[in-house]
Symmetry: D2
Subunit: 153 residues, 4 copies
């Protein structure tokens, strides 16, 4: 079993991004639960790796592929089996004007993942958004545009 | 063309509840827009009577048919072509314990419809919730249970 | 006792704006309760005319006197003793850049007052904001700027 | 300069709880900023240790001294100069029925502090609440009771 290190956390997200399911399963338990914060349509605890991957696909669609994450720091407590990685996230809603700063269009938050590891794999993840990002991201996730019309996607 | 009266507002909602599309169209314009307040998955401006009826069907499903509305009062301004009807609404989420008072389970709000009429028919409706009902109903509409798990429905 | 008419509702708000307490008391009961929607620091049911006037003063301070209301329509039901007046409200937070469109700075909502009258006077008022205005106005009312710093006022 | 360890994080909160300012200043920079999440009256970035202590005093008052925190885990990245401590927090609003489960009365969340250290002291703290705790705690922090009346405190 691999030791829990900063490097291993980094690798876990690298595997997730690779699209290689076999690589993912070296870091992510097949039955991992992953909680998306807030109470929008995609919030709550997704059960199982496939459900979590489905969520990530949704993010890609809603943001028209603009979602980016820049890592700030990673911490681990190997003894307790926990890690936290902090990231700056940015995403523009698909179809929004590219220079929009409206929180209905632009997600621009610092967020973190709180992960619980067991036997070298992530068994539980919880996403969290800092500051007032929970409120502003509720507008981004909403099915409505700033003018009250419902979005096409 | 029928005059805009308190009685006519009452009849418009009676027609809506009847399920008789022909009766509905005497009060509701086929292209009516109807705004559901907030930013949950079903919020925003529904375009057209069919879209609005689809929303009402969703409410029925999410509440397992428990949604009730008790009218408080109705006001009209026939000259301006507007009406407001105020109602007390109650609905229990499908599957929730029948005695739950958690806002994730129980919707218990006073709300109103602000309607614009033209040529004897409703062309625009906007729903509004009084007090802090917008916050508590966000929990009811959310896809998550109080424990963070995602609802079956 | 004066009859409840559209004109009388208009006069009630004129009296409120006049600053003339004696004029106010012809329309507003001394024990009137007035509910401000949402759950921000100034939300909830203000008890008594003085408490309501104190709230209005707060709005003036927070907005540096920029708060404006443009009436859309007024409705009454004299028999039931209720009125509704719908208004478009705009206010810039004191100190914010005058061209800011951030919801932390700019309040730009359609809202209404639902008033209950007794013996010719308003005994209960409830403010309500349409659309997703409850969410965006929560940011305006908040004690923080968009960058997370706490406001001077 | 002391090394950043799990034990040192624990000691920093111990010093904060001690009320001994001199002990605090061994762990907390006098100019520390501390961000309280959300947009309620006490949210945002408190500037300086005194402002942060003032916030903690407010929590004590609003909760009638019932606020408790149970540590789940602590993580550090000494090289980057960051720590995270995760805690389960519980607090009953002063004056609320002791068996109330309403989110207006009872705060019951898992939250964490993301701390930045420099020269052995905390220079920046950011509080974060997991799950949908940001929404439910907005009700707890609000100045209103569940029935819409304004709280005495």
């Amino acid at each position: 079993m691999s030791e829990l290190t900063v490097e291993r956390v980094r690798e876990a997200f690298g595997a997730l991004a690779s699209g290689d399911r076999r690589a993912m399963l070296e870091y992510w338990d097949e039955d991992v639960t992953f909680e998306i914060p807030g109470n929008h349509a995609h919030a709550g605890r997704h059960e199982g790796l496939d459900s979590f991957l489905g969520f990530l696909k949704t993010v890609g669609e809603l943001s028209g592929g603009t979602y980016t994450a820049e890592n700030v720091t990673i911490m681990v407590n190997a003894e307790d089996g926990y890690s936290v990685d902090v990231n700056t996230n940015r995403a523009l809603r698909a179809g929004a004007p590219s220079d929009s700063t409206s929180p209905y269009d632009l997600l621009d938050v610092t967020a973190l993942h709180f992960l619980r590891w067991r036997d070298g794999r992530i068994v539980e993840g919880r996403g969290v958004i800092l500051g007032d990002g929970g409120s502003t991201s509720a507008l981004w996730w909403s099915p409505i545009n700033q003018d009250g019309s419902r979005r096409g996607i």
